[in-house]
């Protein structure tokens, strides 16, 4: 089965920035709008797996990742279970980011249930 591949460094920026567009360049909001949401929604629609590569960047602020991944559920209303079942994360350089991203998704899901 074909897999959708997303590399934050290659497809967006080697220097990810803040949470919102108005806070500075290369924000999580911009990444979600331009890259992550279109590809993840395509993967969800076609029911094909997708892979997000977090390696190779200068580093992340916590809110970039929260806004990018949490926003998929909070803003775009994509189904949590579907994302979880189709998504694989690559983060060899900062392995703790995988737990962080999963936590952000879970939090956004819990929040959306309220």
């Amino acid at each position: 089965m074909e897999k959708i591949k997303i590399s934050i460094r290659k497809d967006f920026s080697p220097t990810p920035g803040p949470r919102y567009i108005h806070e500075g360049k290369f924000s999580g909001e911009l990444f979600r709008q331009q890259v992550l949401h279109p590809r993840v929604s395509e993967a969800v629609e076609k029911n094909i797996p997708f892979e997000v590569d977090l390696d190779g960047t200068a580093g992340y602020g916590t809110s970039f990742l929260e806004e990018s991944f949490g926003g998929l559920i909070r803003i775009h209303g994509l189904p949590y279970e579907k994302i979880k079942s189709l998504m694989s994360l690559i983060s060899i350089e900062e392995d703790y980011l995988i737990d962080d991203v999963n936590e952000y998704l879970k939090d956004a899901y819990e929040e959306s249930k309220k």
């Binding site: 220097t15 990810p16 920035g17 803040p18 500075g24 960047t57 200068a58 580093g59 992340y60 936590e103």
Partner: protein
């Protein structure tokens, strides 16, 4: 009309006015008497030389910098110095900073001095100073280009960059600049490892601090306050130090001022119900270990802002992390959280990067 001015109301006013006027006249007369006395026997040329070179700053308010000019070692002294400068800044009074008696000046103090100087000059308030007699202190000030900037004028701008091509570079802006962080890390890694490397912990620290200033430094509007960052390269000891400051409201004032609707609204009271803490020092400890965030959201810790920076320290991505905000000085490496006698309105963060800190090979 004349009758009006002879009424009791106006006669009292006129008398008060006359008294004030007389007082001013007498004060000026005394000033002129002393001035003339001092000038007796002094030629016109000598008088003009004296005015120009010997007493050019006599109408400036003189503020003495602490002998140990280090925000980390002498935080109370530096906070006192900043608060004196701030009160003169608020009153738009000319200031002369007396650095003559300074015996030691550390790199973390440079960002304080430069940021204050630019704020005065950009607001068109005269600012000047002298030089430390101590050679090492003078060398550090020279390295920072402080003396050079002392004679320059500054405009009120969003962005400043001071000390290019020097071992101490200072940047200021209002937004989050991840590209700047990347450049600074590249340069830092060349000093430490003689090649470009990536240090994600430093990048995270920079982004979180810039974001905190952008979002929380001014309660009324986001993105209003400048953050200032000085980076010093120590090529001998293979160490790079970062000193970050903003003159916002500080962490605790910001928390107490959270408006209804914010997830941190009433957080301090909420926290008091669940966790025992006495002072702001205890509260900062709870913020750094993530307890505050957990309480605010009712969810597990997931590394936000200041706790995210502390995580970078725990992972050995940065070293010697110090935070000074409001009345607390925290030295995270030694787990020391102390209350200061004077409160600093703003947030100051210092950390170092050395050859034992985690890093990644390869450019991004």
């Amino acid at each position: 009309m004349k009758k009006l001015y002879t009424t009791r109301k106006y006669s009292i006013r006129n008398l008060r006015h006359a008294k004030r006027s007389l007082r001013r006249q007498l004060a000026f007369k005394e000033y002129k008497r002393l001035k003339n006395k001092a000038d007796i026997g002094v030629s016109k040329q000598e008088r003009s030389y004296k005015k120009k070179f010997e007493e050019p700053f006599k109408d400036y308010k003189r503020i003495h910098a602490p002998e140990n000019f280090s925000f980390i070692e002498n935080s109370a002294g530096v906070v006192d110095f900043i608060s004196k400068l701030k009160s003169h800044f608020d009153e738009k009074k000319k200031v002369f900073v007396v650095l003559k008696k300074v015996k030691t000046i550390s790199y973390d103090a440079i960002v304080v001095l430069l940021s204050i100087m630019v704020r005065f000059k950009a607001t068109k308030i005269d600012f000047n100073g002298d030089f430390p007699e101590n050679e090492e202190a003078r060398r550090i000030l020279t390295e920072s280009k402080f003396l050079q900037y002392l004679y320059q004028s500054f405009r009120d701008e969003d962005r400043y960059q001071l000390g290019q091509n020097s071992s101490i570079v200072t940047h200021a802006w209002k937004d989050v600049d991840s590209e700047l962080g990347n450049e600074l890390i590249k340069n830092a890694s060349k000093t430490i490892w003689d090649e470009e490397r990536r240090c994600q912990g430093v990048q995270r620290t920079l982004i979180e601090l810039m974001l905190n200033t952008n979002n929380h430094a001014d309660d009324s509007k986001k993105g209003e306050k400048h953050w200032w960052l000085s980076v010093h390269h120590d090529k001998v000891n293979k160490k790079v130090s970062f000193a970050f400051i903003d003159f916002g409201v500080g962490v605790f004032t910001s928390l107490n001022n959270k408006r209804h609707g914010s997830k941190f609204f009433g957080i301090v009271d909420k926290l008091k119900e669940r966790v025992k803490f006495g002072s702001n020092a205890d509260l900062l400890r709870l913020i750094m270990d993530g307890t505050l965030h957990r309480t605010a959201t009712g969810k597990p810790y997931h590394g936000k802002g200041l706790p995210g920076i502390n995580k970078a320290r725990e992972r050995n991505q940065i070293s010697n992390l110090n935070i000074i905000t409001n009345d607390v000085h925290a030295s995270l490496d030694t787990d020391s959280f102390k209350i200061m006698s004077k409160s600093f309105s703003g947030t100051f963060v210092y950390w170092e990067l050395n050859n034992e800190n985690l890093n990644c090979h390869g450019e991004n």
